[in-house]
């Protein structure tokens, strides 16, 4: 049943997100075409506008993926559509997992589209070279491989977004637990959950720091002059902590859902 649920959740997301994907790529192509023309003042202005549109669409893809995930979660579990959702012969676990997977998949698709858009709009040998050089200075400075750096960066960003999304889900679940639910409560609960999750990560890293002076240094100094090893450790620890928090929170969400809902 999870497969079927996911099918319809993904259909919904495609229906609502594809317009941004198409627009992003469209503006990327325009930007690219304009850049191929002779650079008169007029063309310069148009390129700027088109470029602005590309950035706006990229922002849209990320922000909308989050907002849509929350909206979809609330609508299908607590609004009119809930009358159908909760009367389907599926478990609450499946309902929840489907929403979580849908979000994950759409972050991933969004990420690919963003890369593709950037590539279409701005790729030249020069920019590629500049970026490579830039990353290299960072990675050599930290004495780590480029692959490790990129993977770590992506993983941390992903987990962070994912955590934020799930905090929103928990917020919605808590806010709509009782009758006379108000959206405001959901937002508040979501925000509190997020703060708690962040504090937890920070706190646990701090505790780890008590045993590892190099990590502790990160808390003491405000300079860029960080210990290379500490940075690596920090990245790994943070990722693991996020994973644990995400997993735990998903269990909490499913527990609360399984206890039953109160749909208005």
């Amino acid at each position: 049943m999870l497969k079927k649920l996911l099918k319809y959740d993904l259909k919904y997301m495609i229906r609502n997100m594809s317009v941004f994907y198409i627009l992003a790529i469209f503006f990327a192509i325009i930007t690219r075409l304009l850049s191929l023309l002779d650079q008169s003042v007029m063309i310069g202005i148009l390129t700027k506008i088109s470029s602005g549109c590309v950035i706006a669409m990229i922002a849209n893809i990320i922000i909308n993926a989050m907002m849509r995930s929350w909206l979809r979660f609330r609508d299908s579990l607590y609004k009119d559509e809930a009358y159908l959702t909760h009367t389907l012969p599926v478990t609450k676990n499946d309902l929840y997992n489907s929403k979580l997977l849908q979000t994950l998949i759409f972050f991933f698709i969004g990420f690919i589209i963003v890369l593709l858009t950037l590539f279409i709009a701005y790729y030249t040998k020069d920019t590629w070279h500049t970026i490579k050089e830039y990353i290299k200075t960072i990675t050599t400075g930290f004495n780590m491989s480029t692959a490790f750096f990129i993977i770590m960066a992506i993983v941390v960003i992903f987990l962070e977004l994912f955590n934020a999304i799930q905090c929103g889900f928990l917020g919605i679940i808590l806010g709509y637990r009782k009758n006379n639910a108000r959206l405001g409560f959901s937002v508040l609960y979501g925000f509190i959950t997020y703060l708690i999750a962040q504090t937890l990560v920070l706190g646990l890293v701090f505790i780890y720091g008590l045993f590892d002076p190099t990590v502790m240094e990160l808390f003491k100094t405000a300079t860029i002059n960080i210990d290379v090893n500490a940075f690596k450790v920090l990245a790994v620890i943070t990722s693991v902590l996020y994973l644990v928090i995400i997993f735990t929170m998903s269990i909490i969400c499913k527990r609360i859902l399984s206890k039953g809902v109160n749909i208005e």
Binding site: Y8, D80, V90, G260, V261
Partner: protein
């Protein structure tokens, strides 16, 4: 199986804040009956129905459907029509049919298509382009196209024109079989009482009466509508 109750409710209570909206509800429903759940607005009809359909969590008490607690198994055998439109408006009618076919093993898509045709509803139309009345008809078709053991229809006659009302009653009757029961909640008693086997009166969150319809008519020498009015004079 035959002597197991289709629906059994034991000492069910539902409280909002400190107010009881359902109090000490005990109920048994067997197969093969059309049952009217009758009560004034706010009497607790919808609350009871939502509890049976897992849309509300009981404060206390138990609900069994064919011996199972409310959950995946009960949802497989209950076909429920809520009193609001619950379909995703972005979908086409045909997509909704696929959706039901995907999730309900007992859904008969050919029957649904036939009923939609009877009602002059276009299968390729988007729900967002349909009036509320049309959407409600689509929902009725979906619900009646399942071969369920228990149909629960919450106010299916509210706000529909007389022709549709007749069509709805006909649809209920022609789909009805001895292995299933139908619970119809309504406050429009006179329109529906001729098809009811049994009536349940609910008032202020309590079940006040459960009786065979014709027995009640004979005993009180009046229509169900009149008996109801006498009992709950405003």
């Amino acid at each position: 199986m035959s002597n197991m109750e289709l629906l059994e409710i034991k000492n069910l209570n539902k409280k909002y804040d400190k107010k009881y909206v359902l109090k000490d509800v005990d109920l048994k429903i067997t197969s093969g009956k059309i049952i009217g759940l009758l009560g004034k607005n706010g009497a607790g009809k919808t609350t009871l129905i939502k509890l049976i359909n897992d849309l509300l969590t009981p404060t206390s008490g138990e609900i069994f459907v064919k011996g199972n607690n409310i959950g995946v198994e009960s949802k497989k055998v209950i076909s429920y029509l809520p009193e609001r439109t619950y379909l995703n408006k972005q979908m086409k009618v045909s997509e909704v049919i696929d959706y039901f076919k995907d999730f309900y093993e007992n859904f008969d898509d050919n029957k649904a298509k036939k009923l939609l045709k009877d009602l002059d509803l276009d299968i390729n139309q988007n729900l967002s382009k349909m009036s509320k009345g049309m959407q409600e008809k689509v929902q009725l078709v979906l619900v009646m196209s399942r071969k369920a053991d228990l149909y629960i229809l919450d106010e299916p006659l509210g706000g529909v024109d007389p022709a549709t009302r007749d069509y709805i009653l006909d649809t209920i009757l022609s789909n009805f079989n001895e292995n299933a029961s139908v619970i119809i909640s309504t406050h429009l008693i006179s329109d529906i009482e001729r098809i009811l086997d049994e009536v349940i009166f609910i008032d202020k969150g309590k079940i006040v009466l459960q009786s065979d319809t014709d027995e009640l008519r004979t005993k009180e020498n009046a229509s169900i509508d009149e008996i109801f009015r006498r009992m709950f004079k405003c």
